[in-house]
């Protein structure tokens, strides 16, 4: 039932913060888009050590590119592909990029609100 500390960071700080956590012995728990605030997507990456956890949270504009942390945390590639497939978040330099083929879907980026799908 641990909630953990939520750290708000900018997307440019992500690699440094992730590396710090990695060196602190944290494991990756999950990465997700948790909601939309105005135009932006709010991303939450959760890391855990033992029973406690830390969440890194950042705001990403739909046009922004997020740098992948899969070179720091290997399993991150799955979550990053998932975020790309379901929400259309642009992520660069994923160690194993399935290019939108992880989820076999008819509708691309289904979790993105419909008005902007055409763009």
């Amino acid at each position: 039932m641990t909630d953990g500390e939520i750290r708000e960071i900018g997307i440019e700080e992500l690699p440094t913060e992730a590396l710090k956590l990695k060196n602190g012995g944290y494991r990756l728990i999950q990465m997700c888009v948790n909601r939309r605030i105005g135009e932006d997507f709010q991303l939450t990456y959760s890391f855990g050590i033992g029973l406690s956890c830390v969440h890194l949270r950042m705001l990403v504009h739909p046009e922004d590119e997020v740098v992948s942390i899969s070179s720091i945390y290997e399993p991150a590639f799955l979550y990053e592909n998932e975020m790309h497939d379901l929400f259309g978040i642009r992520i660069s330099m994923i160690s194993l990029d399935y290019h939108g083929n992880l989820y076999r879907l008819d509708k691309k980026t289904p979790y993105r609100p419909s008005e902007e799908k055409e763009s």
């Binding site: 039932m1 494991r27 728990i29 948790n34 959760s46 590639f77 083929n101």
Partner: protein, 359 residues
Amino acid sequence: MSTRSIVPFGPQHPVLPEPIHLDLVLEDEKVVEAVPSIGFVHRGLEQLVEKRDFQTYVYVAERICGICSFMHGMSYCEAVEKIMNIEIPARAKYLRTIWCEMSRIHSHLLWLGLLADAFGFESLFMQSWRIRETILDMFEESTGGRVIFSVNKIGGQRRDMENSMLRGFLPKLEQVEAELEAITGAFLSDRAVNTRLRDVGILTKEQAHDLGAVGPFMRASGIEFDMRLQGYDAYKDLYFRPVTSTECDSYARCKVRIGEIFQSINLIRQAIDKIPEGEIAAPVKGLPNGEAFVRVEQPRGEALYYVCGDGKKFLERFRVRTPTFANLPGLLQTLKGCQLADVPILILTIDPCISCTER
């Protein structure tokens, strides 16, 4: 010179009842790489929170997966309860714990059966599932359902178990324990079974740690960790230690799961012994406003739930990171370098639940 070829595995495959799809890159009989693609069971359940209000969604959450159905419903409720600051009554906590452990026994027995089927030991498959029926009878007696129970609600439980019923469970558990002991030898000491499991699909402790493996898959690689140690529900009052093994192979995963069934039986006994009298549900007032992360230990490993509400009847976001998803990188690692004939066993050793993974 060996030739490379790509063999599609699934979605309709005799070994697994569920549709999983992998593209296996082979060099002769050796797997070089495995590329997963999912979506055959993808329903978009996370998005359904926009159409079902937060109290009705309990029943949808339960149907994320029919094997860990109780735990999905329960964890969703706990996340919402956390946002709304509802403390559920002590008896409800114990009821949840008992049903959780029963789910674990039924899930692990189911897995043992499927594993036996994968290495071609059909009578062992039948035996495992026969034992499992006793647990399903207990579920049917206490909830009315065999696999989908609908006994959770926000604030507690919808049904109580009478003390006489709980006492009646004790001899049944004894029977399950004795029957399981009888087949444990076949899984762990049989020479033919050993040749199929020993040293197959090694995942070292470091790999398990770095690849984010969870649950029995991780514990079989020697990491002693279990989300139940957080002491949620009644676990804080019960004594247990995570079951681990150091062999890091498929045999270890089988051993850990068998150990966990005995552990769960023990936990249910402790809970029946300590369960307090009282209410089974707390009143729910208002609407969820806020967010919460909840981590629980499911039969397949740690699951994380994220619920976010903004004071409306419909939640803003619901997210679940299921154990199978976390175990996929580990699976892809163990598949590298294995023989094509071992692929079904390796896929099974993470106890995949595709319906959880794809939601």
